[in-house]
Symmetry: C6
Subunit: 268 residues, 6 copies
């Protein structure tokens, strides 16, 4: 077995997280029952932050993996590396998490190839095992181990979706952007602007979010609002800050840009 | 030959399994005749649990492989690894099972590439051999070795199906969700809720299963019912527990969600 | 040159084979002329058994390779392996067979990629050589070496067929299921049921084979009949045995299943 | 940790850069806020030069990566190399930049495969970390590290675009060819021709840029104008210089070539 | 440089070859001019035999490569192998031929991937060099080296054809089946049947060749005629021999088989 | 740094090259300005010969790479090889050329994958650097280094074309077959036939070139004319020589062959 540096996965400071409804209680019950959890919601609405917060609250280490379509099962499970004395097994992040009893967070799991998603099956039912087939070892997960995945329903196509046999292994929590007052509180807290500026930024975001599906693929995320606030706090003129942070990253369509520019001009 | 740690594959405790019809007798006869067996049925209806139960009942070790489309024949059969003294052969799970006389269970075999399914052919007829072509060895299977595969007919497309020359090497057993009373008994036993709550959960599942093919790809599995029961047993309000476990994992369609929410509201 | 353990390829006991027409004589003449042979016919009708029988009759070792679409030329010809002293060449099964004068049987050769089928060309004409290009060696086949391939015409699509330049290197023998009396004799001999039961099983098979192309991709093979006989001989009720062995493996279509069930019910 | 030769990444001489609007101020504020920056604009309009200039102005080393569709995450992050004493980890350019506090410039990031773009996610939010999954190390970026990507909106197709979850991690700056006077100044400065010739070259470019979307995929870039100026400064007759530098590289269509030739003939 | 065992490539005995027109003279002149040669014609008409004959006549070693679609440039040019002392370069067959001054015969070159065909370009013009890019060596071909490729025009599709820039590097010779008397002479000589039987076999072939494009992809080759003669010479009844050698390998179409059977019955 | 054997890349004898217009002067000016150059034109019209000539005239070593669609960036840039003492870096041809100040000629660059073409970008602008990302080294090109690519516009499809961001890094020179007198001079000089025969060969070529796009993909190249001249000079009858060299390599279409045969018959 590989030595694991557990400390690097500890969440040592309480992350700033503002609960929306009963998601903290539900997660805790799911964790007690060791029911795997799937977080659904759009980009930049706080899913990663929530997992970090729960890891801190539950006192568990957190192992995060950003999934992508070129990731193989070996990237999760581990592989043999060549050493001075021949090959040495190197646990992958999923195996590490299973051994040390961490929360393992597979971010945007639907991006991964099927072998990644199938490899988690025996960890998500009563077996709670992870077969390392290349090593001939059957890892029994630490009793504190918990699996969380995120999933953005807006992205799924027919070609790229979780299989039913995967979906039916998870309880699911929906996430969305926080309501206006909460979001403004977050923007002010994170960027350092006053509540008046934060309110205005949130209202611009609301206008943009109404355009989702009408020319915009996705609305302005809370994260982009914080970026705009950051620039304003550094002394950049608010319109320029909004153009750079809220308009240009989102779209190259001239009409859409003008609509968004006008939304900015309404408030600043 | 590789040393095999047989004990890690033993099923030491009797798994909870509630027989439906004569499947236990048929499996035993098939095992006596060493006829390979194919289990057909939907996700989460108990196929894996059945194999575990039969392995326990017959006193054979069990080697399970979750198949996936990136799995190669080498993942089943084995490969050479680099060692301090050069290369060392590492048996794959199928070879291990053939040597130690285990039941080898290839879960969702149709997901695997053809080389995986063709590699089992000589193990499934009178030869009962496994050629390790890369090693130049012809493994004669242990007389207790038995091969079982699972197969979900609902998933098969024209592109992805077993070849006739593979199908004609197996006897087949059909599986489905247990009938209501049996399923409620299972849910109560596994989750710790009382029989009244278990009955209600099963009735919600029946409503959802009627929607299969009418907006849902697959109905609510027994496994998800157990999850819902788990949350309720941890003190979560039943509606929230059902939303998290039975509704949100299954679908993102607003109409379907509402239909399922109403089914939940009818009982809780 | 690699040491070859010839004995593991010997067919030590006379396999049970019941000749149909003059196929044994034709094969022997082809073998004398070292004309490569192609066996054509459906799944489970006895092609593999025939090759085994001929190997035993001619006293030649037999090297069998189950071809698949992920098999590379190196899987047939050989490759370099890493050893304590650097790389070591490992003959593949085709090279082994060419060196030791075995019959090499490439089962379902059309499944293999083209490099597999092209690699056999110089072994199948007057040259009888196998260039190991990676090793820089030109293997001259042992004078007893013989190449046999099998080919199921029912499977071929436009995308996957032997090239004319490959076909024109083989004499061909057609195979089909044996006629009724012979097949019943085989089923009784292999499964241990009496001739009455064997006759009934064969008649069920004849009904199913008439459905080929009318809802069934392929009829019931002799192998499946033997499986059904096996179960009956173990004391399973004949209808259950037939359902498990002859109906469910073949089709998931409800109408087809009913038609086959009725065929079973006519006899048992 | 690998030793890094930071000096080779230093921009030691002030690059020639002529600001267009407030892009230098905006970049500096974004850098202070460590907001990742996306540069949008056509080929050869000065995006790479701008990043070089900002690296010099801010006194940070610069690590540039020309992205392409065959680039893997390992090309950015690093990999194990075989050494006399076994394997040795080699940081990739992104890891190097994160460790030494450089500006990392991913040129034409949209060309890269998704694993490249997803791998930057944890470096672009509050975490500022880079998980080296193969090494089992979580790199915390140097506090001076900054990420810049470039993006040519004209190239994006539906198949090849940044994901929304990537876009929403960047502030964006638009780039375009400089206005006429500024561009002539640049051409004269870089190629050594006098301002009269430079003016003419810019006016030819303006004519060609009007043809963009009307037979030309892209207009004449500033870089090509400098090349034409270079040839003229070496004594080549201006028309020949323009044909070689401004017409023939752009198009093989005879009509377009004639149109462009006439534009050249108007000025020289 | 690798040691080459030239002797294994020598054609030590005069191959049986019966010239058709002036192909021997043309080849000799092309060889004197070191003009690369392309042989065009159907399967089994004697192209490989002709090259063998010319190699013997010119006293040059012969290196033959059967091309296939999985062959890489490295399979032709060479690669590094791992040795006790690190890596060792292993020349591929093309490099070997270039060094020892052999005739290199690339059989069915159009099957190979483009990198194979492009790699021969510098060997086929005035340069006569072969860059071993992985080794950093530029091989100057031995002055006796000659390149020959074969090409079956009947197989070419739009997807798979030689590039014009490859074609224009070769002189071309057309091959076809020999006229009747010559072919009968060949069949009698190679199989041991008398001239009467050989004549009949050739006449059957002529009937089949008329069906090419009218239900048959390709006619009966001279090679198959020799096979039929072989079986007859071993005492097999002529009709059976023809069925096995001339009919069944060619087609599975019942009508075509009957037509060919009747052609056989006309003569035997 | 790898030791480079510069001498093997020297062009030691003046290649025979007959200038057409001002291409030699333009190339020299481009070389002085270190402007990368793109040569456009059909197969076999003298592009490679021109580069060889310029390398000789400018006294620079010449590194030529025949690009193909299986070539990777590593084939150009270099890779680590395993050595007795671990890995050793091996410069690829592009890196070699950049270090020794050679002219690097990428022949048919459009055949290569995009990573090949993107890898040259930093060598083709003011940076003149080549990042060896796998090695962590930034190569600054030798001041004499020059990059030339060739490109056949007739081949380009929508799928396979240079990107605009690549095209706009090169000045371009058009090439075509020489006019009649010059071409006859070349054919006579290279093949040894007299000017009368050379004239006739060129006139046959002119007839064939008029058929381009009317049944022929490409006309007869100068290279093929030289081949025909070679055969005639070896004593082959001119019609046979033309059939072998000018007609059969180009087309298998019977009508086209007849048309070309008649063109030959007009002159010989």
């Amino acid at each position: 077995m590989t030595e694991h540096d557990v400390d690097q996965y500890r969440v040592t400071e309480a992350p700033y997280y503002r609960p929306v409804t009963d998601e903290v209680d539900l997660y805790e019950a799911a964790y007690q029952a060791r029911m795997p959890v799937m977080l659904k919601g759009p980009t930049g609405c706080g899913k990663s932050r929530f997992v970090e917060y729960m890891a801190w609250k539950l006192g568990r280490p957190l192992v995060t993996v950003a999934c992508n379509e070129d990731m193989t099962a070996a990237d999760l499970v581990g592989r043999y590396l060549l050493d001075a004395n021949g090959t040495r097994w190197q646990d992958g992040p999923l195996t590490t998490a299973a051994r040390i009893g961490a929360i393992c967070y597979l971010d945007e799991v639907v991006e991964a190839r099927q072998d990644t998603t199938v490899v988690i099956h025996p960890l998500t039912d009563h077996r709670r095992t992870l077969p390392l087939e290349k090593k001939g070892e059957l890892v029994h997960a630490h009793s504190d181990f918990h699996l969380v995945i995120s999933y953005n329903p807006g992205y799924q196509s027919l070609m790229k979706d979780l299989k039913q046999s995967t979906k039916q292994r998870f309880g699911a929590l929906d996430f969305d952007y926080p309501e206006a007052a909460a979001e403004a509180e977050i923007v002010a807290h994170e960027s350092g602007v006053d509540s008046d500026v934060a309110d205005k930024l949130v209202q611009i975001a609301h206008r943009a979010r109404n355009l989702k599906g009408h020319g915009l693929d996705e609305g302005i995320s809370t994260r982009l609002l914080v970026y705009a606030g950051n620039l304003i706090a550094k002394g950049i003129e608010p319109r320029s800050a909004c153009t750079m942070s809220l308009v240009r990253p989102l779209t190259d369509d001239p009409d859409m840009r003008e609509t968004l520019d006008q939304a900015v001009a309404t408030y600043f």
